[in-house]
Amino acid sequence: MSLAKVLTWCNDEWYSLFDATNVFDSPAITAITKLGMDHVHLLGPSLADITRNKAGIMREHTICVTCEQSPEAFEVLMEHSNRLSAPLDDITDDDHSSDAIAALPTVAHRTNAAIALKVVAHLLHTDDLDQRLGAFDEQDVIQGLQRYKSPGSFREITKSRFHFLLDTAHNTLSLPVALEWFFEKAVSKEDE
């Protein structure tokens, strides 16, 4: 195996700060997606508390790719970045410019995809890793994005006059996005 993506995950009790993935002392890179009020009962109560937990995956002298965060979250990430000399690399509008990213259904999808592309770009410019990755390049990621499919995410099913919209939103970050998507789709259906 040349490279492994290791996803931190909530096992109901321990999150990034104490996550089992922290057995890896020297990841090639880390990434933190959009932070919000999720799993508050375990990580909170504040966004700063949640961010401190999530920032537990950051490592010394290791780039951490992230996206635009709220000031409260960003301040905590910067604290960790400075303390660990771990450069924080935000995605920019340019990182959203590929057609494959633009075709994704929501801002959240596009942001996560842009983070993934940025991670790959960094890896391809990392000594040693570029050799181990062989012919793998950003185009491979683009092709992966084009084939992206998530059955429970922003799914539409139309049956006769019934238009069902399904999404697994379940927290204060994702629910407003799902509701906005629903109303947009419902209104556009009325205009047909």
Binding site: V40, H41, G152, R161, H163, F164, L165, A169, L179
Partner: protein
């Protein structure tokens, strides 16, 4: 049939599409907080929604899971529902008391009694939505959002695609 979920919203959208929201959360998630958010968000969009259905997470009216073991033999469905956790077998349905509690919460926030329904299964929730639409008279179509829990969405997908 009322055309708005709120008593203080004029009945001026009757000619538009019927809009329903089916919501559920598992007891382990920050359920009430998320439900509050749904209620508040729909409040801001009050003129557009006709019906809120709070659903248990089981798929079928007989209490079984539509997306659960009964479909495990189908490789096609397995690949389609890859996000579905094995632990769906864990009984994750909400109790009648929990469903009623959420309904009372909605009513306290000003929702009309007739516009907040509870359903003991996802299958029943979809039927409630469809029947409400049919009773709404002149609506051209129904748009129905299913959200709140991956279990709920998995079950709804299984029922709708069966």
């Amino acid at each position: 049939m009322v055309s708005s979920i709120f008593a203080d919203t004029p009945d001026r959208y009757a000619s538009r599409g019927f809009k329903a929201v089916i919501y559920s959360h598992s007891a382990k998630l920050e359920g009430k907080e998320s439900f509050d958010l749904v209620l508040d968000s729909l409040r801001r969009e009050s003129e557009q929604v006709d019906l809120l259905i709070i659903s248990s997470l089981v798929g079928r009216a007989d209490g079984t899971y539509a997306a659960g073991p009964t479909h495990k033999d189908s490789s096609e469905r397995d690949s389609e529902l890859t996000f579905l956790p094995e632990r769906l077998n864990v009984k994750a349905e909400m109790s009648t008391d929990a469903l009623d509690e959420l309904r009372r919460l909605a009513l306290r926030k000003g929702w009309l009694d007739a516009c907040v329904q509870v359903a003991s299964s996802v299958e029943q929730a979809l039927e409630v939505a469809e029947n409400a639409y049919k009773q709404s008279g002149d609506r051209s179509h129904m748009s129905c959002l299913v959200t709140g829990s991956s279990y709920l969405v998995a079950e709804a997908l299984a029922v709708l695609e069966a």
